[in-house]
Symmetry: C2
Subunit: 362 residues, 2 copies
């Protein structure tokens, strides 16, 4: 399933086999929570060489519902994406408004924000939902504590997550199962969670409950602890991360997989990720700027349009502006990950990190 090809200190270069293609790690997944990477068509994703994305099984279970998805032959065909698809379980929606009712040993009760109906998601049912959605990688049902969380609350999140992990079906044909490490910002709890899950036969491991408000240094420390415990030969996925700099910091600590709304949300809000840093295209300074968003980028947006045009579209609240920026940002992240893999291969990660710090550091 997962093979490590090269290493640069703790950073790893690998290949993850899925039912929809072999994925070179480290990789970054654009987010398609509701069966669409916001503003982009599958053709756009292909033009950016996107080979994997992540959707959300709780959201999809509620809308459009399993019946509609199964009628289409699964999520891939519904949204017409031919690459690999991860699905999150919904554990993260515990800390989002409008979904969570309560959790106990049996699982999580969610309430539909559409009609108020309640559903018990057991670990087994979460896996069943993800199987029926037809994703390539299912994330286990996990208990995600808010930040900040008391030690007691964080302890409970680890205990329940471990219990659910035991029940979450593994070794399923066509779909990989990933565990998720919890423990908030408490070192001993992260250790315990990572150890508990390491003993189970997951195909890979998510690191959850981070990047939700805690200081960056704390996040890095948690990743270090967890990556020191998780089995070497399994991929590690830092959920909800992130920016180019956060990704490098995590890859250096042994993380292989990432996802974030960073490129799409920034795109919709008018910010471009470029090789010169982050650019807020709404600023007046771009009114007359004849350059592409990024001189080093070959995406459709950069090959065709000036910053001045995109500035104009954003100022006029034209949807095309959000689209062109999202397209560029997703392409940028994919290209960034290619570069990152090359740097690992060449043993240049520390140098690359310093270069990126100069560009994106604050």
């Amino acid at each position: 399933m997962f093979k490590i090809i090269a290493k640069d200190n703790k950073a790893r270069l690998g290949i993850l086999k899925t039912a929809h293609g072999e994925l070179k790690t480290p990789f970054f997944m654009p987010v398609a929570t509701k069966a669409t990477v916001k503003t982009l068509t599958p053709e756009d994703l292909e033009s950016c060489d996107v080979k994997v994305l992540i959707s959300n099984s709780l959201h999809l279970f509620l809308k459009p519902g399993l019946e509609v998805l199964e009628k289409h032959g699964g999520l891939h065909k519904f949204m017409r994406f031919e690459g690999a698809i991860f699905t999150d379980s919904g554990g993260f929606q515990m800390i989002r408004k409008g979904f969570f009712v309560r959790a106990d040993e049996s699982g999580i009760i969610f309430r539909s924000p559409y009609d108020g109906q309640k559903y018990l998601f057991t670990p087994e049912f979460s896996k069943e939902v993800q199987m029926r959605i037809g994703s390539d990688v299912a994330m286990m049902l996990d208990y995600c504590a808010e930040y900040p969380a008391s030690y007691e609350e964080a302890k409970r999140s680890v205990e329940l997550t471990t219990k659910w992990a035991q029940k979450f079906p593994k070794n399923t044909k066509e779909q990989l199962s990933f565990g998720i490490v919890q423990g908030s910002i408490y070192e001993d709890l992260r250790e315990k969670s990572a150890k508990d899950l390491s003993n189970m036969d997951f195909d890979g491991y998510g690191i959850g409950g981070l990047s939700i408000g805690e200081p960056k240094k704390v996040m890095h420390r948690m990743v270090e602890i967890v990556d020191g415990i998780l089995p070497e030969n399994k991929p590690r996925y830092l959920m909800g991360v992130g920016s180019p700099l956060e990704i490098i910091e995590s890859v250096i600590r042994g993380v292989d997989i990432f996802d974030s709304v960073f490129p799409t949300r920034n795109g919709r809000h008018g910010t471009a990720i470029t090789s010169e840093g982050m650019l807020n295209l709404r600023k007046a300074e771009f009114k007359n700027d004849m350059q592409p968003l990024d001189n080093e980028c070959q995406c459709y947006t950069c090959e065709n349009f000036t910053r001045a045009y995109i500035h104009h579209l954003l100022r006029e609240k034209e949807i095309l502006g959000m689209h062109l920026l999202s397209l560029h940002n997703v392409c940028f992240m994919i290209q960034f990950m290619k570069r990152l893999r090359e740097e690992i291969e060449q043993g240049n990660l520390e140098k690359f990190k310093k270069e990126m710090e100069r560009i994106y550091g604050t």
Copy 2:
């Protein structure tokens, strides 16, 4: 410039030569008021075979401004559209909130809704703006009366439009100049306006001040009167029209050119134009519908997605839903016009009209 190839009663099949290509008439122009056909890229437009669109010189003059456009080498390069571009003068913005201050013999004073600054648009200045924008066809500065308008007001609109028409530069290299007939819903005023302008050396004629609230029958009557007077060998452009049925009704009366936000506005609001009629994809009946929007359409949307997927996107307020519908609707209108031209060629227009009435009639 304009050549008539075939006729079916009053309906005409022709070719209009512009600096950016020869256009087969009758044709329909998607609207790109602010230098974008809403939600669509130029690549999308090309995929639909869009060869001509219309923008608005007053809007562009205010934002992004002539300086930015000229720096790009004109509107075509700014928005990266290689087909022909018409520009409206801004006369229509007299009846839109936020622009109009007053009009007299010298022209129209507009106020910028961005900064409150006032600008006098004389006929000569309107042409200059459109030349600097670099459009292929400039519409004259016209006095557009609201609907309903008193006879006095409509008379004034015709008198001023005639005076401005005399001053509006014609026979300009690289850019055609079109007159605009006004006169509200008064037969004698429409007659006078059409006669006044027919004597001037315009390259074509817009029919303005219609499709703004008057009954359809009244619009058709006005078109009949005007088309009976305008020179046979010049193209006629019914501004702001319309739906497939309105277009047929007008082509039968001798109109050659159309523009409307009909496909894009409907697309953003969740309605598809199909060969079965108008479909509101937000309706629950499409939740499980595995068909494409239109079984007879080969656009990207119809080749790839089900109505169920688009229904889901619209219900979730995903921008991709608006995009896919707008793309289909624009493609549909272009295909519809191709079909319409074929029917004229074969002398089948009356039969085609009846077929369309069955589909789109109310």
